[in-house]
C-alpha cells in the first residue's frame, strides 16, 4: 500500500509537470495568466465510484503504443460553460452556443491532455501515438470515456484559475489491461 502511495506521489508530480506546460500554452493562447494545479492523483476502482455516472462537458483523446487508453478532461456543465465564456473574451455563458463551447473546450482539452500525456510519455520514454481530441456535450463520463479495461482509473482533480475565477475539472486516465501497472512501474525506475 505504501508502495502504491509512493507511486501515486510520483505520478502526481509527473502530471503536474505536464499540467504546468499546458497552463503556459493556455495563457499564451488567450493572452492572460491561467493557473493550473493538480493537488493529488488518485487511483479509483470504477466499480466503487460514482465518478463515471456524472455528466459534464468532456474532451477525450486516445493514445496507443507501449501503454494504451483514453485520456479525458471533464468539467461540470456549468463550470465548463463559464470557462469557455472567460476564454472567449467574456461573452455571457448563456449567449455561447454549444458549437462555440465545443470548439473552445476541445482546444483546452487538447492542450491540457497533451501536457499530461506528453509528460507521462516523456517519463516512460515511450513512443506513443495519439488521436485527435473529441468533444462530448453533457454526456455521462462512462459513455464518453469508452471501455475501461483495467477497471481502474487514474484521477487527477484539476483546478483552473482564470481571471480570479476558480474552475474545477478532472483529468481521467483510463488504461487498457496492464497499462496502469506499466505506467506506475516505469515511474520507479
Amino acid at each position: 500500500m505504501q508502495l502504491i502511495d509512493e507511486k501515486l506521489d510520483a505520478m502526481t508530480e509527473v502530471v503536474n509537470i505536464g499540467i504546468g506546460r499546458a497552463a503556459a500554452s493556455l495563457s499564451d493562447l488567450v493572452g492572460e495568466r491561467i493557473e493550473l494545479h493538480v493537488p493529488r492523483v488518485r487511483l479509483l476502482d470504477i466499480y466503487n465510484s460514482d465518478c463515471l455516472s456524472e455528466t459534464g462537458l468532456s474532451v477525450v483523446q486516445g493514445f496507443n503504443g507501449a501503454v494504451a487508453g483514453n485520456a479525458m478532461l471533464v468539467f461540470p456543465s456549468q463550470s465548463g460553460r463559464v470557462l469557455a465564456s472567460l476564454l472567449a473574451g467574456g461573452v455571457a455563458p448563456e449567449d455561447l452556443q454549444p458549437y462555440e463551447v465545443s470548439g473552445i473546450l476541445s482546444e483546452v482539452g487538447n492542450i491540457v491532455l497533451n501536457g499530461v500525456l506528453g509528460s507521462i510519455a516523456n517519463v516512460m520514454q515511450a513512443n506513443l501515438s495519439y488521436e485527435v481530441p473529441v468533444f462530448h456535450l453533457d454526456q455521462a463520463v462512462c459513455d464518453a470515456l469508452g471501455k475501461v479495461g483495467d477497471g481502474q482509473l487514474l484521477v487527477a482533480d484539476a483546478a483552473l484559475a482564470v481571471q480570479s475565477r476558480r474552475i474545477d475539472g478532472k483529468v481521467l486516465l483510463a488504461f487498457d489491461v496492464g497499462s496502469v501497472e506499466a505506467v506506475l512501474e516505469s515511474l520507479m525506475l
Binding site: D28, L87, I104, S106, E107, N114, S129, Y130, E131, P133
Partner: protein
Amino acid sequence: MTQHEPAVDDAVTLDLVPLGAMVIDADLRVIQWNRTLADWTGVSRQQASGAPLRELYASLADGPYERRLREMFDTGLPVYFSETLHRHFLPIPPQGGLPIERMIQRTRARLLPGKRGRALITIQDVSIQYHHLGELKAERQELLEAQRRMRATNRSLEVANSQLIEAQQTLKVSQEYTDSILRSMADMLIVLSPEGFIERANEATTTCLGYAPWELQSRPAQMLFADPPDALIPEVTCDGLTTLTNLLRQLERDGRVQDFEAQCRTKDGQLVSVSLSGGRLSSSRGEPLGYVCVMQDTTERRRIQTELARSQRLKSVGQLAAGIAHEINTPLQCISSSVEYLEMVFPSLMEVINEYAALAERNPNGGACPLKLANATTARREAPAALADATTAVHRVCEIIQAMRATTYPGGECRVETDINQLVRDAVVISRGRWKDAGTVTLHLDPQLPKPRTMPAEISQVLINLLINAGDALHECYPRDGQLGSIEVRTCTQEELVVVEVSDNGPGIPEATRERIFEPFFTTKPIGKGTGQGLAFSYQAITQLGGGLTLQNPAQGGARFVVTLPREAAAEPTRVAAGAQVATPLS
C-alpha cells in the same frame, strides 16, 4: 500473395479529401499541398512545395502556431486549433461567396504514423456553417428580444388588467352606492327609454304600486298611469297613454317637468295621486338616453290640504260667529234690560189688573169698565210664567253670546292674565250641546287660583275640545238605565303649576291608541264626526305656552286629561270670579 494492389499515391489520396490538407516536415516546410488547398488559396502545389510555412504565410510566425507545431514534432502529440479561439489558420477566402473577413477554419495537426518527421495538417472551412449559425444566433436573439417585449407587454397587460379590475371594483361600489340611494328613496323613481318603456324602477315604485320589479322591466310606462275618466263614458277607466304622451311631450319640449300632476294606477287598480318631476337624460355627445322621473305620492298631502281647507272654513265660520255674537250682543242687552224691567214692574201691573178685576166683579154692569175680563183670565194666569221663561231664556242667550265672544276673541300672540276658572265656565256653556244628553258637568274650581299669563282664546279652545271629547265619550255608554254620565272639571295649584283636570266616567281610552291620540288627524270617532285635530291642536297650543297636556286613565275607569300651565309671572287673584262655586252641578 502473388500480386499486390498498387499502393495509392499519398498525394492522390490527399487530393480526394474535401478538406484543405498539407504535409509538413519538422522544419515546418511544405512537403505536400493538396488540390483543395491550391483551389482555396490560389497557391499552386508547385509554388508551395518545399517552401517554409512562414514564408508562404507570415502570420503563422506570430502567435502560438509555430511553437505548438514544433511541440507536436517534439512530443508526437496532436494539435487542435479551434475555430472559436483562432478563427482561421490560413487567410483563405471562405466558401459560398462569403467575404474574407467571415472566414472561419477548424485546424488539426498530427504526426503521420510511421513517418516520424512528417505531420498532416487539415483545415476545415466552417465559415458557411458559422455564417448560418450566426444567422440562427441573430434570429434567436431577435426571438429573445421579441420574447422580452412580449413579457413586457404581458406585464403592462397585467397592470392594465389589474387597473381594469380595480376600476370595475370602483364601479361596482359606485353602482351599489347608487342602488342604495335609489333603494332608500321614499319617492318613486322611474327611468324611461326615449320610446317610453320602463328601464328602471326603484323599490318605492314597486312597493307603492304593488308590482314585482321584473313586472315593470321593459314594459310600456303607460301601465303605471291612469288617464282622467272620459267625460262621456265615465265608467270606462282609460289607461295612462294620454298622461304618458303629455308627459313625454313636455319633457321633450322643455327638457324637464316640475310638479306634473298625474294619477298612477297600482297593480290592483287603486289610484294614487302623484306629483311628478323629471328631466331628459342624454349622453355626453347629446344623444337622447331617455327620461328620469321622480314621483311623489300626494294622496296624503291632498288629504291634508282638504283638512286644512276645512279647518280654514271652520275658522271663517268661527269669525262669522264672533261677528254675529258681537252684533247680536247690543240688541240682546236691550232685550235683556227690557225683560228685566218688565219682570220688575210686572207684579205692580198684575196688582192693578187684579184690583181692577175685583172691582169689575163687584160692579158687573158698571159702565165705567168696558173691559171683558173674562178674556184676561188666562193671560193673567199664564203671563207671569211666560215672563219668567223669557227672562231665563234671555239670560241663557246672554250667557252663550258672552262665552262665544270670549272664545272667539282674537287674542293674537299677546299674553294676558287669564282667569282660568271663568274660561272653564264659558267652555262648559259653549259645549253644553255636546254633553247635556249624556251626562252632567261638575265644577271644582279653586277660588284662589292664580291667573297665569296665557292666550285666553287658545286655552278656551283647549277646554272646549276636552269637554266635547268627554261628552262624545259619555255618549258611547250613556244614558244607561236612565242614568247619566259625569264630567268633572277641577282647577287647582300644584307647586308652580296651574292645573286643570277634565275627567269623565266614559269607556276610557284603549292602551293601543293612547300613544297616538295627540297625533294630527288621528281619530277614533266615526267618519264625519271627528277631524283628528282637536287634541293635536290642544297639545300644540299648551306646549307652546310652556305647559303640558297629558292623559291619565284613572283606576275607577274613564279618562282624565290634565292641563298644566306654568304660574310663573302669574298675578295673584285680585277678585273671586263671580259665580264661582265649589262643586256646582250643572245640567
